[in-house]
C-alpha cells in the first residue's frame, strides 16, 4: 500500500473519529452541566443542614420541657413515651440528612465527571445515596418502597456512553431518577405536615420559656433593645435596662417583640420546607434541560436556596444566643 493511500486512510479515520466525537458531544454543554453540579451540591447540602437543624433543636426542646416542669405549676417532665417518640423523630431526620449528604457526594462527583470524566466516582456516590434512600424507605415500611425502588433502580448501575458527553448525559438522567425517587419518598411519608408541625412546636416552646424568664426578671432584653434603639448615635442606658422587665409598658413591648420574632421564625420554617422540595423539582427540570442540550437556568435554585439558608442561619444564630 502506497504512503499516499495510507495517509488517506488515516485522514479518513481521524475525520470519522472527529465526527463520531462531535455526535457524542452534541446537545450536552459540559460547562453548564458543571455549573449545575456545583449548584446542586450546595443546594442539597443546605437541605441536609435544615433537617439537622430541626434535629438539634429537638434536644433543646426536651431541655426546655424539663426547665418548664421545674418552674411552672402543673408542668410535667417529658414522659418516656414522648422521649421515645422524639428519638424516633430524630432518627427519621438523621436518615434524611444522610440521604442528602449522599446526594451532595453525587453532585460533587457529577462535577468531577464534567471536569475530568470521573465516571467511577458518580457510580459509587449514586449507589451510596440509593442505599441511604432505601434505608429511609425501609424505615417506613414496604408500602412506599415500590415506586421509589423503581426510580432508585433506574438511578443505579454503571454510567453508560462511549464519550464523556454521553456519560454526562447518562449520569444526569440517573441523578434525575434519584431526585424523583427522593421526592416520591418524602411525599409518601407525608412528612410536610409532620416537619412543619414539629418546627412550629419547637419555636412555640422557645417563645414560652423566653417569655417566662423575661417576665420573671431573669432575662435581659439588652440584645433586643441594643439592636432596636442604637440609632442615630443613641446609646442604651445599660443600668436602667436591667430593670426593664419591671416596667409594665416595656415588659409588654418586649413580649410583643418576642412573639413577632417567633412568628418570623415559624414562617421561615414553613417557607424553608417548601423551598427545599421546590429546589429538588427545579433540579430535575434543569437536568432534563442538560440532557436535551438546552440552556439551564440556575437563578430559581439560588432563590429557593436563599430561603432554606435563611432558616438554617436563623437556627444557628438562635443557638449562638443572638
Amino acid at each position: 500500500m502506497g504512503k499516499r493511500i495510507q495517509l488517506k486512510i488515516i485522514s479518513a479515520a481521524i475525520l470519522m473519529f472527529a465526527l463520531v466525537s462531535l455526535a457524542g458531544c452534541a446537545g450536552v454543554n459540559e460547562s453548564m452541566a458543571g455549573k449545575l453540579a456545583d449548584k446542586g451540591a450546595s443546594a442539597v447540602k443546605t437541605i441536609g443542614e435544615s433537617y439537622q437543624a430541626t434535629s438539634d433543636d429537638l434536644n433543646q426542646y426536651v431541655e426546655t420541657e424539663y426547665l418548664l416542669a421545674g418552674l411552672k405549676p402543673g408542668y410535667s417532665k417529658p414522659s418516656d413515651s414522648m422521649l421515645e417518640s422524639i428519638d424516633t423523630i430524630k432518627k427519621e431526620l438523621n436518615l434524611r440528612k444522610q440521604m442528602f449528604t449522599g446526594l451532595n457526594d453525587v453532585y460533587v462527583s457529577f462535577g468531577a465527571l464534567c471536569a475530568y470524566d470521573a465516571k467511577g466516582e458518580v457510580e459509587k456516590s449514586v449507589g451510596n445515596t440509593v442505599q441511604a434512600g432505601n434505608s429511609l424507605a425501609a424505615h417506613f415500611g414496604s408500602s412506599i418502597s415500590d415506586p421509589v425502588g423503581k426510580l432508585f433502580a433506574t438511578a443505579s448501575g454503571g454510567i453508560a456512553g462511549q464519550f464523556q458527553a454521553d456519560r454526562i448525559k447518562d449520569a444526569s438522567a440517573k441523578i434525575r431518577s434519584l431526585l424523583q425517587g427522593i421526592i416520591v419518598l418524602l411525599e409518601k411519608q407525608k412528612e410536610e405536615a409532620a416537619i412543619i408541625s414539629i418546627r412550629k412546636e419547637i419555636s412555640e416552646r422557645k417563645l414560652e420559656i423566653g417569655k417566662y424568664f423575661w417576665e420573671k426578671g431573669y432575662a435581659s432584653a439588652e440584645g433586643i433593645l441594643n439592636e432596636d434603639i442604637q440609632v442615630y448615635g443613641l446609646t442604651p442606658d445599660t443600668a436602667a435596662l436591667k430593670k426593664a422587665s419591671q416596667d409594665k409598658s416595656i415588659s409588654a413591648a418586649i413580649g410583643n417583640v418576642l412573639t413577632w420574632r417567633q412568628k418570623q421564625e415559624e414562617d421561615s420554617q414553613a417557607a424553608a420546607y417548601h423551598a427545599a422540595i421546590q429546589t429538588l423539582r427545579t433540579l430535575i427540570n434543569e437536568h432534563a434541560k442538560i440532557e436535551a442540550g438546552e440552556p439551564v437556568n440556575l437563578e430559581a435554585i439560588q432563590g429557593y436556596m436563599a430561603t432554606v439558608q435563611q432558616y438554617v442561619d436563623l437556627m444557628t444564630a438562635v443557638k449562638k444566643g443572638k
Binding site: G74, S85, A194, E201
Partner: protein
C-alpha cells in the same frame, strides 16, 4: 390536604387547644383532683401528638377516618368550652373525650 395530613392536624389541634389554655384552666380548677386530671390529660395529648409526628400517620383506613371525624367535632366542642371555663368539670369531661379520641387516632393509624 390528604387524609393522613388531616389525622395529624386534628391530633395536633387537640394538643394545642389544651396546651394553649392550660395555664388559665389550671387556675380555674377548684380541687387538686381537677388539677391532677388536667395535667394527666395535657400529658396524654402531648404524648399522642409526638407519637403522631413520629409515626407520620401512614394509614387512612375507614376506622381512622371515622375516628378523625369524631375528633374534629370534639375539638370544636373543646374550643367552644374554652370561651367559658366556669364549669371546669364539664370542660375536663370534654377534654377527656377529646384526648381519648386523639390517642385512638394515633394508635389506629399506626396499625
Amino acid at each position: 390536604m390528604s387524609a393522613d395530613d388531616k389525622n395529624l392536624k386534628e391530633v395536633e389541634r387537640t394538643y394545642k387547644l389544651i396546651k394553649g389554655s392550660f395555664d388559665t384552666a389550671y387556675q380555674n380548677c377548684e380541687t387538686d383532683e381537677q388539677k391532677e386530671r388536667l395535667i394527666v390529660l395535657r400529658d396524654a395529648a402531648r404524648d399522642a401528638y409526638f407519637k403522631g409526628i413520629a409515626e407520620n400517620l401512614s394509614d387512612s383506613h375507614d376506622l381512622v377516618k371515622e375516628t378523625i371525624k369524631e375528633l374534629g367535632a370534639k375539638n370544636d366542642e373543646i374550643q367552644k368550652a374554652l370561651k367559658s371555663l366556669k364549669d371546669i368539670s364539664a370542660f375536663l369531661n370534654i377534654v377527656t373525650a377529646g384526648v381519648k379520641l386523639a390517642a385512638a387516632v394515633v394508635t389506629l393509624a399506626a396499625v
